[in-house]
């Protein structure tokens, strides 16, 4: 066991190195900058490349380009930069180019409060880019989980040929904890599938059995076309072919949704006999874990479902875990972005208690406890 005291952002950089990152492009922004600083030192040591680009859009564009040569790539940002990157995230979805985007959330909108914590970008992660699409978003609640989920973000990205978003919040990004680096040595590092056919037979977007298409790196003899326009299996535009458009957009969705069970990562604490279930993610899940432990000590049967994968929405899991519960509490540092989704699942069968906080402070366990005991009124 190798225990090391580490900051969340540092664990993110180390997780990326563990996953085999080759390339980072980014732009300085609080509270994510440590990730860039660490990788500017670590990447060239491992023969990889680091570049500080002229802006946020250039950064995401550069990592998509680098990924096309076969590299594993990463960028890190915060709210304002995440907004700027959205168009190109859509490009990576459409062209099926793997890459990982870290958003260490700060309080918004606009410049907001750069050093204060927030979970305000949950819906931006889901719906930030235009058009119908599906995206994988992971959300760690501890420094150790940052390390683990950064590795998983790369694995999902490579496995499904899609951009993956890792949503930290300022609390988790700047939290320092001792973590066991060897604990995750058993995770198999995944790499994108290369084509097994010869270049003359290669159709860059032809798939078998719903699996993502094999990806040829630029420069290895497979000369093909990549475009953000709708395209058919050959990779060329098919704007006049509505059946091909329909097939493409549904495939991009299904290649992820079909593996929802594999993608949905979560932790649970005393959920089975719980009367009251807290569903939480990120730093709020940390507070929820404390609240559940304290409530249990008081004899209240509380449990925690901590979602590490927040998108695609794990509807079945939430439905099953909520079944028969008296109340479902959803603490989050926004005005109920995720609670709204959970409400659709619960319908009106279970009492949903959204617990919101948007003052830039970490949501405290006592607030969750007060809501459960009815001491604090919820909206």
């Amino acid at each position: 066991m190798i225990r090391k005291l580490m900051q969340g952002n540092e664990a993110c950089a180390e997780g990326a190195m563990k996953a085999g990152v080759d390339f980072f492009a980014g732009y300085p922004i609080t509270p994510s900058t440590e990730i860039a600083e660490i990788l500017s030192r670590r990447l060239p040591q491992a023969g990889g490349k680091f570049i500080q680009m002229e802006d946020e859009i250039a950064s995401i564009s550069a990592i998509i380009g680098a990924s096309l040569t076969g590299f594993k790539t990463l960028t890190a940002t915060s709210g304002p930069g995440f907004s700027l990157k959205q168009e190109s995230i859509g490009f990576a979805i459409m062209t099926e180019i793997p890459c990982v985007i870290i958003n260490v959330q700060r309080l918004g909108p606009s410049t907001g409060a750069p050093t204060l914590t927030s979970q305000g970008d949950v819906m931006q992660a889901r719906w930030g880019t235009h058009g119908e699409h599906t995206i994988i978003t992971l959300c760690p609640a501890s420094v150790e989980e940052v390390y683990y989920l950064t590795i998983m973000a790369f694995n999902f990205s490579e496995r499904f040929r899609t951009p993956v978003i890792l949503l930290l919040d300022e609390t988790i990004g700047h939290l320092r904890e001792s973590i066991d680096l060897e604990k995750y040595d058993h995770i198999k590092i995944l790499n994108r599938q290369k084509p097994w056919v010869s270049p003359d037979k290669y159709l860059p977007y032809a798939t078998e059995a719903g699996e993502p298409p094999p990806m040829a790196p630029f420069g290895e003899g497979y000369r093909y076309h990549v475009t953000g326009l709708v395209h058919d299996e050959s990779g060329f535009p098919c704007t006049g072919n509505h059946a091909a458009i329909d097939k493409l957009l549904k495939r991009l969705n299904n290649k992820i949704i079909a593996y929802l069970d594999e993608i949905t990562l979560y932790q649970e604490v005393k959920t089975e006999d719980a009367e009251h279930l807290v569903i939480a993610y990120g730093a709020a899940a940390r507070s929820a874990a404390s609240a559940v432990a304290l409530l249990r000590r008081e004899g209240v049967r509380a449990g925690l479902l901590q979602l590490q994968t927040i998108w695609p929405f794990p509807e079945k899991l939430i439905y099953q875990k909520s079944l028969g519960k008296k109340t479902v509490l959803v603490p989050e540092m926004n005005l109920g972005q995720y609670a709204g989704e959970i409400k659709k699942v619960l319908k009106d069968k279970t009492l949903l208690v959204p617990i919101s906080q948007i003052d830039g402070q970490l949501l405290q366990p006592r607030k969750i406890m007060a809501h459960l005991k009815g001491e604090e009124k919820h909206a």
Binding site: D22, F23, A25, R41, P44, Q45, G47, K49, I51, M53, E54, D55, I57, A58, S59, S61, A62, I63, I64, G65, A66, S67, L68, T69, G70, F71, T73, E87, S88, F91, F218, G219, E220, G221, R223, Y224, H225, V226, T227, G228, L229, F236, P237
Partner: protein, 273 residues
């Protein structure tokens, strides 16, 4: 005369006919580019051509290389990622004046400054063609556009001067009226170990030409020929004869360290070698 060669071996003939309007300059630039590729005997497997958004950016669909049709204004940023990741690839960006200098202006400045070994060919038709003839940063002052019905009040940008000032190591301007010169400039740009810009004066008879009563393609090309002067001939001209003329040829050539080569040194330092 441009040299004769089998242009089809570099084209995706099954993607023809192309989408460009009759008289458009894009095909002439594509032809000059492919002659340059043939002269240099580049290995198509190692050539990456990247474009942005717009009429000219549709060029990547027709070229049988590794081709990437990116988002609007960002091809140089994608290109920087590709070149830094794999410096062995020959990276060429072909795009339009709006893509390169308006929405992509920031990337243009900084790719010049870094001196990444990328060749940028900007097809300057002085207008946004794909969206129907709106003014671009290269539309001359006083000219008409779909969004300048009373005349354009913005002065045009000299992208070659900007490129040189920002640090590009080879800056050239050619035009569709001089295809042999254009081919030669593209060859020099690809050969330069650093960032190269080739601005190509081109014609859009359908929008720019029609909105400004510039006549047909032949007249537009004649106008271009009569209003350009080779940098080599500048000393021979009578005083005042340069007024209103646009210079063509290699406008600037400098030596500066190339970005990806500099980064290789960083890797050696980081690894303690």
């Amino acid at each position: 005369m441009p040299k004769l060669f089998n242009v089809k071996k570099y084209l995706r003939m099954d993607k023809m006919p192309h989408i460009w309007c009759p008289g458009c300059g894009n095909g002439m630039v594509m032809s000059a580019f492919l002659r340059a590729v043939d002269t240099l005997q580049l290995n198509p497997d190692k050539v990456v051509v990247i474009s942005g958004i717009g009429c000219s950016s549709r060029i990547t669909g027709y070229l049988d290389f590794n081709t990437l049709h990116t988002t609007h204004g960002r091809p140089l940023a994608f290109a920087t990622g590709i070149k830094l990741a794999n410096p062995a690839l020959e990276v060429i960006v072909i795009t339009g004046d709006g893509d390169a200098t308006a929405i992509g202006g920031n990337h243009f400045l900084h790719t010049c400054r870094r001196n990444v070994n990328i060749t940028l060919i900007v097809i300057n038709n002085r207008i946004y063609g794909m969206t129907g003839g709106q003014y671009s940063p290269l539309t001359p002052k006083g000219e008409n556009a779909a969004t300048a019905p009373y005349g354009n009040i913005e002065p045009e940008l000299d992208m070659c001067k900007v490129a040189e000032a920002a640090g590009a190591t080879l800056v050239a301007r050619g035009g569709t009226s001089q295809p042999v010169l254009l081919e030669d400039l593209i060859i020099k740009a690809i050969e330069n170990r650093g960032f190269s810009l080739v601005e190509v004066l081109s014609q859009c008879p359908v929008y720019y030409g029609r909105l400004n009563k510039k006549g047909n393609v032949v007249e537009m090309l004649k106008w271009q020929k009569e209003n350009t002067v080779s940098v080599k001939d500048v000393n021979k001209l009578a005083p005042g004869a340069l007024k209103g003329k646009v210079l063509t040829g290699v406008l600037a050539a400098h030596y500066r360290p190339e970005y990806t080569e500099e980064y290789e040194k960083i890797i050696k330092i980081a690894q303690g070698k």
